[in-house]
Amino acid sequence: MRHIISVLVENEFGALARIAGLFSARGYNIESLNVAPTQDGSMSRMTIVTSGTDEIIEQITKQLNKLVDVIKLTDLTESSHIEREVMLVKINAAGAERRDEVKRLTDIFRGKVLDVTDTTFTVEVTGAAEKLDAFVDAIGYEGLIEVVRSGPMGIGRGEKPLQL
């Protein structure tokens, strides 16, 4: 099953390498990983999307917790949460008809056109991973020139934060 693990780590030299290294050394899946500092500059927050059986996910969380740089973590998929991913896409948009269609699809997916040339649109779409997949499908493979995705990030619902 797919899991989204949010990890608070020391914003220190090598912390990212330690975590990435753990996944490769122990043969765990890693679908995406993103990281940036939090409001407290000494900590970074990482979102890791992985998959595996319950036993594997249990090992992943235990092994992550064992790393000295890991402050705290939570498996967001265990409770109600919000998931978002940002995608930037450069799309083939030559000819009036095609331009209209891309514009319409962008609106339907609540995307934003960020840049325009005679033959292309560059569009931003934000949402859960499946929504971005659906947009890519709607545009069609031939229409895509370049796709950049951030990988999902997540936050729990309700008042309780992931904090020290």
Partner: protein, 580 residues
Amino acid sequence: MELSGGEIVVESLRREGVKHVFGYPGGSVLHIYDAFFKQDEVQHVLVRHEQGGTHAADGYARATGKPGVVLVTSGPGVTNTVTGIATANMDSIPMVVLTGQVALPVIGSDAFQECDTIGITRPIVKHNILVKSVEEIGPAIKKAFHIATTGRPGPVVVDIPKNTTDPNVKIPFDYPETVDIRSYRPAERGHMGQIRKATEMLTEAKRPIIYAGGGVVQGEASEELRTLVRELEYPITCTLMGLGAYPGDDELSIGMLGMHGTYEANLAMHEADVILCVGARFDDRVTGDLDKFAPYAKIIHIDVDPSSISKNVKADIPIVGQVKPVLEDMLTCLKEVGKNQDVTAMEAWWKQINQWRSIDSLAYEKGDQIKPQEVIESLYKATKGDAIITSDVGQHQMFAAQFYHFNRPRQWLNSGGLGTMGFGLPAAIGAQLACPDQTVACVTGEASIMMCIQELSTALQYNTPVKIINLNNRYMGMVRQWQEMFYDKRYSMSYVEALPDLVKMAESYGHVGIRVEDPSELDAAMEKAFSIKDRLVFLDIVVDQSVNVYPMIANGKGHHEMVLSPSQAEIDDAEERDLA
């Protein structure tokens, strides 16, 4: 106090109570070596190869429980320590490795003797730290000792760029008294509710067994374990790493378990209804095929490292905590719960175990050549069972584990997790320096000993009168055994040709060398070796080449499928297995 970075390194070690540092100098650590030169509280032991240095520090740590300390230069100095660091990591040995690094401004430029030490050692350490200023040296060393020695112990590397130890840059220095790492909070006491449940399950068991590992030794919990086992009068088996955690010649001890464990230990594991695992980790050399492992048992698992629990075998009652306080709490619970055991069931269980025991799975036949097993028996006699024994890796290691009855923790030092040939001699030197009043012997093989043979020179320089017991079978015996059993006797590359004359070699290093070939001379030679108190003696013992280690669980087999030696198997057939 104003100190330079080099002086801070030495002063920090002094403040940690370090007496010995095992190291080898080089360009990036010269400032630190200069600081060593100016004091004599922390002794620097010059090894002959950085691998030897890490094993010596490791042996020092295993023999005492105190962290071993290593100091090496950047680049090749670091890469030479990799095997030793990984060895310590696999067996959870506390160690602090200080490595020189090229100056900060040139890191990343492929400078002379530069390597990515943090990157290379990352997967084989508990933690590593790159120092980025002279101010960071003291706190980094403090942190390293704290992390190395608490929770599940392990090696920590501190990488020190040369410019941070510049003798011309002095800073006011205060060694931190305490350390607090918000992201590192190792477990302490176990959960009382879990401990109570475990105690109840344990007392209600009909076919219980206690399975103890290296965690009991590292966690200084042998005393508590002994009390618990004797209180319950349950059978106890120790892993290769746990030998000595419980006295090996005690009536309740049923020997080592696992691949070359005793028949009674492995069958008792297979038939048990409750297994109490204390500080062990269900390693594949212990469990055999996991699908066939302990099919009737409920499992209680005590470990300080939560990631060890339910990794290989699902625990029914997990208890995360330091072994010592958990066992203390368990003893308290036991008093409250009472020992309401099923007496009839326990009698039947012991009867069964004693029947397995009577097969005597370690029995072997003597002959006109020396058998490796009788060498260990002779060693046991000559040292009255009281020596610190280190070993290398191979058949000799298994024979030492099977035939030397370790009665106290920290008496048996071997590389169980990584299985590192070359460990034995340097580890013995480290142990001897740590315990100058004890007898230290290294059980080795003619292939293993060659892997760190240069340390014979260190042994002379520091006058460590280690006794080397070389079981010379002219084969990589353990490899040969597998080739005999599983590769139709195709002995590919397992014959050690062109062996040096090891007696002469020992002599050329300035030690005493003795060769023994005749079984009738074995005991006398052993006595003689141990009567020479002040010198290293190399006993080169020519043993029967064809001996295999039995009993054995082959790969992919379960505990109940273990093979006895051909002669013991006959006895077993005659008595017919009577499994519960």
